[in-house]
Symmetry: C2
């Protein structure tokens, strides 16, 4: 039981049969075709020699198959994590050099250790700090940043820098050096990929293929671009006229090696490793959850942490760089009919064969094609409409999203995320620091109590009923004291204050102190505090202090009960007023 | 209207009369007697020459009288803020030197600017970050730290360092150098002050004085210690045998001067200035609120910010250091019958006269007496029982309090507070990240729905009723998705899920995304999501998105209504089960 909790592969492995194997290997073939150009491209995006993209798509797939809980998630290099890798390493090392490669492996190892540790200590909770607006702002900004950063490969110029502040002036000043043939290859690839993305499948269907076959063949569109441009470069010797190509790729599988352990460097990379782990985990879990729900399966966040952790550790030992579950490849895997993570194992075999056999053929692949592959992939992640929708729904969330977006684009990836997370927290605390409170009165003829400003209700002159629509905790403890002081100071005839608590899910120690201070100050002023409609768990906690004995008031099961006890004369007036209720109900609740 | 909002003195000034003046001047006399030794002592604690304590008790009192909203708060140097001043400056400058004094004035100016800015921008909200457990832990730790730090003056030895890690070994190694006569003076003063604190008033009453006069005379106990020890030193020439005395105090009022503006230093002091401002504000407001409530008055947090801000600015221009509203002196002021802030103005006049006339007499005052004054004052702030009570009430709050306490004592004042604040936030987020959720069913024969695990209720096999007892926001958005996946995966026959929301005070953009994802995944699995008992403000916000149109379900006014609509067969079973309810009600709500 506890072993299978950590080894989800035992579940599906037991029932594995020939039909599963057939479906999984078909899916693996399609994903492999899609992964070859993507892996090379994302390695380039991460600042590494392209072959490391293939290395990062081997062992991680197998390890995830053993420890991960999603049946259809495909693990490997993804755009956003590759960008974060580049952002962390480019300021420290010459791009693509041996120390850069070693640092990328170290980063993968640290990310793997962090995720594994989070699995063991059950700290998946930390991923929740990344609110959806922050993630959405970050992803859109990353998409734009990556696309703009890849333009130099399409233009055949060289520009350095990570943030837009450096990139855009660099692009403009280097624009006159644009290399014609490279630009032509780049634009043709971009147009083809963009068109193939949405139009290739319908065309193939029109040509008579059935929907499934057409869809699978359309997935090979990028492969066609690669084959065509390699042929063009080889035949026209474009590499000799200045088109930058991938160059010699070492043939064969990666050698196992331990990343160098440089403690000072590890400390320096720790913030980046933490963010890469969290962002990668969040991206992977949301993909996994969406796909699992489609088949009414579920994924286990702890298993996901362990699956991704071991995947990253294996990447570190086999020449890879940080990886996670990718959206595009997982959807392709799912659509192609993958039944179990065995599809991932088959994909790894496919990639390994490519590394063994195909790498000599990739020598003449133009970098501009890889850049075009990246640009088309990431631009689909950019969703500025989401900013508008979020802003419309809530100014606070919109502000957090905007701050993340601008922070990532103009300051840097890590700074942007941290600004977004900090702002989300701050705005949430601000929002709950002045909770909605309503003085309520009895709706005539009922046992209901409603806001005196929205309804024509009956109030007792000596009993003030106050409903608080928020948990009582430190950000609003002082506000509660102030509001009650204000209300009581304005009503000299009040003798009882009943705090109505149906919306109070928590009373923390600060709020307890405040309630004690309120009760004491009210007592001095000749007013008694009472509570009503306190929830079970909150009541359980209050019983752990001596507040209930000391505050001198009562805890009523309902506000109606409170008024019946404290203002028995009030029920008399119920009948007098009841006729006016329907007419003067000013607004809905 | 808007001017009197910023000038509360216009309110009480209009009605000021001779009776007020008589009561205020009497209170001022008593507070002045108490303030002279305390001001000198707190200046010493802050690492400044004692006379600066008098300077800091002049203008600040007047400025607060103009802008502050509390009628009885007494502003000036206080123990905790003096300790924070010393902690900020001692690592940077030789104690008590001209650059140290200049930096203390700069710190007062920055604190004044921060508080004034918070008043203008209405940012008093930030003080809420200091939860009560954090403040309590900080005050207890400060009290212990200050008391231990003053022991060297009582022992007549010299020890340097701020945190206990430095102080305690220093004290032990210097113990053999203890100076006999100093120790004798110190112990006698300590014993007298400790005894006088609780026993002097009863004794004077036994001697026939009435309660009020006895109480006022008892307040002068510290003054007696000062007079007696000055006489002893003068007559026995103890200063020549090694008893350290205050020495020559410049006679007269402080010269007005602008603090030197050293921007690098200002940046370095910014974190300390921020914390001093927040801590001082929180201490002052809680004292002011307690005293105001006793007379059914109220204070205005923005006026308090402005009052304290201008008080600190004036301290900066007149040789002072950071000040705030003090607990002990305010209570004395209140008890002595102060009616308006004019009592503060009279106190300032009293202190000014002392600075003009009394300073030559203070030359022979032993430092050990000032140290004894501080120790007795701060030990009354130490409340370790509070830690136990907090821990009992809530482990999370107790943990934050303990961390602050240990952090302040063993790492440093600022680090301790920051650790406490960070931990409070983290634990709150953790607490709300896995909210209490209950599958509920109908209590037979009623319209109430209760937890199926606590009550014997009626459930529909096809309708799952789930109550969430927390606002839905980013820390728990993903948990909601996971829990619902789990629940639905375990109940294949369910066709409708009704989310019951009486405890949901907020649905943020992250939770909205999660609800959309949940609705979509449920739809794919053949289950329809519905909501019930959604509060007005939450409903208003949901209407700003297109969720309500798109999620396909209904929003029911009550859970009963939901079941009546979705599972009409359920009402039939009501009668069958109703007899078993009373018998099998397992536990209270």
């Amino acid at each position: 039981m506890s072993i299978s909790r950590w080894l989800p592969c035992l579940d599906w492995g037991r029932q594995y049969n020939r039909s599963h194997a057939a479906q999984d290997s078909m899916a693996a073939l399609i994903v492999t075709l899609m992964l070859i150009p993507q892996s090379l491209a994302y390695a380039m995006l991460a600042g590494l020699p392209p072959v490391h993209g293939l290395y990062a798509s081997l062992l991680p797939l197998m390890l995830y198959a053993i420890f991960g809980s999603s049946r259809t998630l495909a693990v490997g290099p993804v755009a956003v994590v590759s960008l974060m890798t580049a952002a962390a390493l480019q300021p420290l090392f010459p791009q693509g050099g041996p120390s850069y490669i070693a640092a990328a492996m170290l980063l993968a190892m640290m990310s793997g250790l962090i995720l594994t540790l989070m699995a063991v200590l059950r700290l998946g909770f930390f991923a929740n700090f990344l609110s959806h607006p922050v993630i959405s702002g970050f992803i859109s900004a990353s998409g734009l940043l990556i696309a703009i950063g890849q333009l130099k490969h399409v233009l055949g110029i060289s520009v350095s820098g990570e943030s837009l502040v450096q990139l855009i002036p660099g692009l403009f000043s280097a624009l006159p050096d644009t290399h014609g043939p490279t630009l032509l290859i780049g634009l043709l690839s971009l147009s083809w990929l963009w068109w193939a993305r949405s139009q290739l499948k319908p065309l193939l269907q029109k040509l008579g293929l059935n929907a499934q076959v057409a869809a699978n063949m359309a997935k090979a569109g990028p492969v066609l671009a690669i084959v065509m441009t390699i042929l063009a470069v080889s035949v026209l010797h474009l590499d000799q006229s200045g088109v930058k190509v991938v160059g010699t790729i070492p043939q064969g599988l990666p050698a196992f090696s331990l990343p160098e352990l440089d403690w000072r460097l590890a400390l320096q990379l720790l913030p980046a490793a933490l963010l890469i782990s969290l962002v990668g985990f969040v991206e992977s879990v949301s993909v996994g959850q969406t796909l699992a729900a489609k088949r009414r399966q579920r994924i286990d966040p702890d298993s996901e942490l362990l699956g991704l952790g071991t995947a990253n550790l294996s990447a570190a030992f086999s020449g890879g760089f940080p990886v996670t579950g990718g959206f595009a490849r997982s959807v392709v895997n799912y659509d192609a009919g993958a039944q179990t993570p065995m599809a991932g194992v088959f994909t790894a075999v496919g990639i390994a064969l490519s590394a063994l056999l195909l790498t000599p053929l990739l020598h003449n692949l133009p970098q501009a094609v890889l850049a075009a592959t990246i640009i088309v992939a990431v631009l689909s992640l950019v969703d500025l409409g989401s900013l508008k929708r979020t802003w419309q729904y809530s100014k606070q969330d919109g502000l957090a999203q905007l701050a993340t977006l601008l922070g990532v684009m103009f300051i840097g990836v890590e700074a942007g995320i941290l600004i977004g997370v900090g702002l989300s927290l701050l705005l949430f605390l601000y929002r709950t620091s002045k909770p909605h409170m309503a003085v309520v009165g009895q709706v005539p003829g009922t046992e209901h109590f409603r806001n005196v400003q929205r309804f024509d209700v009956i109030e007792s002159p000596s009993v003030l009923s106050l409903r608080v629509d928020e948990s009582l905790y430190f950000p609003n403890a002082r506000y509660l004291e102030e509001r009650i002081s204000e209300l009581i100071a304005a009503r000299p005839q009040v003798r009882h204050l009943v705090l109505m608590c149906p919306g109070v899910n928590l009373i923390d120690a600060s709020a307890l102190d405040s309630l004690e201070a309120i009760a004491e100050r009210l007592n001095i002023a000749g007013v008694q505090l009472h509570l009503s409609e306190v929830k079970g768990p909150v009541m359980d906690q209050l019983r752990r202090s001596d507040f209930l004995e000391r505050f001198g008031g009562q805890v009523f099961i309902s506000q109606y009960q409170a008024l019946k006890t404290l203002a028995p004369e009030l029920t008399l007036s119920t009948l007098e007023h009841s006729h006016s209720f329907a007419a003067s109900n000013r607004r809905n609740p």
